[in-house]
Amino acid sequence: MSPATHLTRHIGRAATVAMVGSLTVTLAACGGGSSSGGGAESGGVAAVVKGLDNPFFQTMESGIKDQASTADVPVTVQAANSITDTTGQGDKLNGLAGQDFKCFIVNPITGTNLIQGVASLSAKNVPIINIDSPIDEEAAKSANAKIATYIGTDNNDAGAKAAAQMGTLLPQGGKVALIGGTAGDVTSAARLDGFTSAKPANVTIISTVAADWERQQALTKATDIMTANPDLAGFFVANDDMGLGVAQAIANKGKTGQIRVISVDGNKDAFDAVKAGGIDAVVAQYPYVIGAMGVEACQAAIAGKTLPASVEAPVQVVTKANVDAALASAPKPAEAYDNPFTELNK
């Protein structure tokens, strides 16, 4: 779940500040405040997403709003003040839960921070669509909360797709280095693990470093790794922003095209870099589709249809060969993907 990417980045910030003084939580809450969405229209769909302070969730929000306006469903979107605002997000859901919405889309910051609101909605039999980050199953069970469906992407699979692509790029094999997000982060670990377990036998991982989801750190560490390993053949990078930093490091050494780079997310800048040749492949996840599918799932649930327990949002590999199509169709994927809700809503 790529948003956790951003989650940890901001948690990293919070943790840093917490070292200085715990007052920050209050200050950050005062500083970031932006809940978006129209007025509280009852009878429609309510969505509570993570902080709109990064592109991933902004894209997700526009997916929700576009699908809602296409389907002519009134929608209210509320977002956490920031990606670390777990209690604030809970309060927002509780506030909406008291109103007369027919369906809820939730993207919890942690597995449990929305459990109270979700439980009270379940008690009223309001369908809940869980998108992107999963609600903890144990917690949902013990709170007696029912989740109608889960829509998200598999980060392990994204890593595996990158590994397969690395195999294509390096038919002779070679040494690769892995650049992760913050050390210990779940999303980063899932992407790196997916890569590690699916890599071809002739590709060896010689180093795994953490660059805290920051472009500058990725640049510095990639430079160091290239210095230590002059025969390095490729990098797998846990998100696009860091991928751009790695591409810059390679360009600085004049080795663009010789050392391969694959990153995960699917931002426009990364697509541009694929087109220009700095990045060789991007494993794209589609927050826009996740948001839109959430609304479609709500439409089906309101109509009383039975929803599949979980739906995989599309993950696609974008290379120079298909990058033009990817750029043209962004924020939607260029290739067709499974959407069980289209059938349900017919």
């Binding site: 910030r13 200085v20 200050l27 709109l52 902004q58 953490a210 500058q216 160091d224």
Partner: protein, 331 residues
């Protein structure tokens, strides 16, 4: 300008040669050890890393370490002025992020305009800090904690949460051009450090800064406008944040509202490693510069050796706390 007399300035010079003792004896003197903590640690690290991985001291690696350290050096110099007055600037990294985003917003009007705007943005954050602390009489800790949040919020607002790619040949030259093993960015940082050294030790202003940090009441009794000095040091810190923003944009080729928190911690750590007293009145510029090099070399060496990512933050923490421990023995 001749240095004005102050009871505290004489202790600011790391190694004075007028006592006649051999240098090594002065180095191992516990009270001097704090001042020498960063250089000693740097040498020890270099020996250890070089023994474990011969690429560590290769010219290519030294060059990339120096380039990587340049942003931190610039920030550490700014932080030093603030810490010398017994203050702290927690907003320095956020001010840099804000200035970088402003750079991105103004870049369409030309490179020079963008650079000036970035520096002005950094100065503005510094001025707000300085006025609130000196005139508003609010604790530095709280003010800069507030601007930390406010500046990163402003950065997100201006950038709309999105990074902006900056393509500029002169900036690329700044980040990749070198004179032998010294990158232009590093040379810029060194020039800034030299200017800062002259300002701190060879001007009346520098003396006032140290006097304000050493004993605010005494300084103001002798006619130093401590409020003005305190405002000025935060403005200097903001200025370095603005310059660092230009280096940052040049380095990554983008203006982005990323948190960059590691720079905040590392700027304070570099200052402490450099033997600057957090209680004010006692500072050097060379110390924090070496502190910044040490922190960069530490992470570089661990990366070269392929040390697990989990051990890197631990080792940085240990080094910082050890250095802080040494400052207990300061005179």
């Amino acid at each position: 300008m001749p240095p004005a007399t102050s009871p505290r300035t004489d202790v600011t010079h790391v190694a004075r040669s007028d006592t006649g003792d051999p240098l090594w004896r002065k180095v191992i003197e516990p009270s001097n050890l704090a001042n020498w903590a960063a250089p000693i640690a740097l040498v020890v690290l270099a020996i250890v890393f070089q023994a474990l991985n011969p690429t560590f001291l290769s010219l290519g690696n030294v060059e990339s370490m120096l380039s990587a350290a340049s942003i931190l050096i610039v920030l550490a110099v700014g932080q030093t002025f603030v810490v010398a007055t017994a203050g702290i600037d927690l907003s320095i990294a956020s001010a840099m992020t804000f200035a970088a985003v402003i750079f991105g917003a103004v870049f369409q009007f030309g490179l020079i305009a963008a650079i000036l705007a970035a520096i002005a943005a950094g100065l503005a954050v510094g001025l707000v800090n300085g006025l609130l602390i000196a005139r508003g009489r609010i604790t530095d800790f709280i003010v800069t904690l507030g601007t930390l949040s406010a500046a990163s919020g402003m950065a997100l607002i201006v950038a709309d949460g999105k990074p902006k790619t900056i393509i500029s040949a002169p900036l690329l030259k700044l980040s990749t051009g070198t004179v032998w093993i010294f990158g232009y960015a590093f040379l810029l940082a060194v020039v800034l450090a030299l200017v800062a050294h002259v300002v701190l030790f060879h001007t009346r202003f520098g003396t006032y800064v140290l006097a304000t940090g050493g004993n605010t009441e005494a300084a103001s009794a002798t006619g130093v406008s401590t409020a003005r000095i305190k405002t000025a040091v935060y403005v200097i810190s903001g200025l370095t944040a603005g310059l660092a923003a230009v280096l940052l944009v040049a380095r990554v080729g983008a203006a982005e509202p990323a948190s960059n928190t590691s720079f905040l911690l590392n700027s304070v750590a570099a200052v402490v490693l450099g033997g600057v007293s957090l209680f004010g009145g006692k500072a050097t510029i060379v110390g924090p510069v070496i502190g910044a090099l040490l922190l960069t070399a530490l992470v570089n060496g661990l990366t070269l050796l392929g040390v697990s990512q989990f051990y890197q933050p631990l080792s940085v923490g240990i080094v910082v706390v050890l250095a802080a421990f040494l400052t207990r023995f300061q005179k």
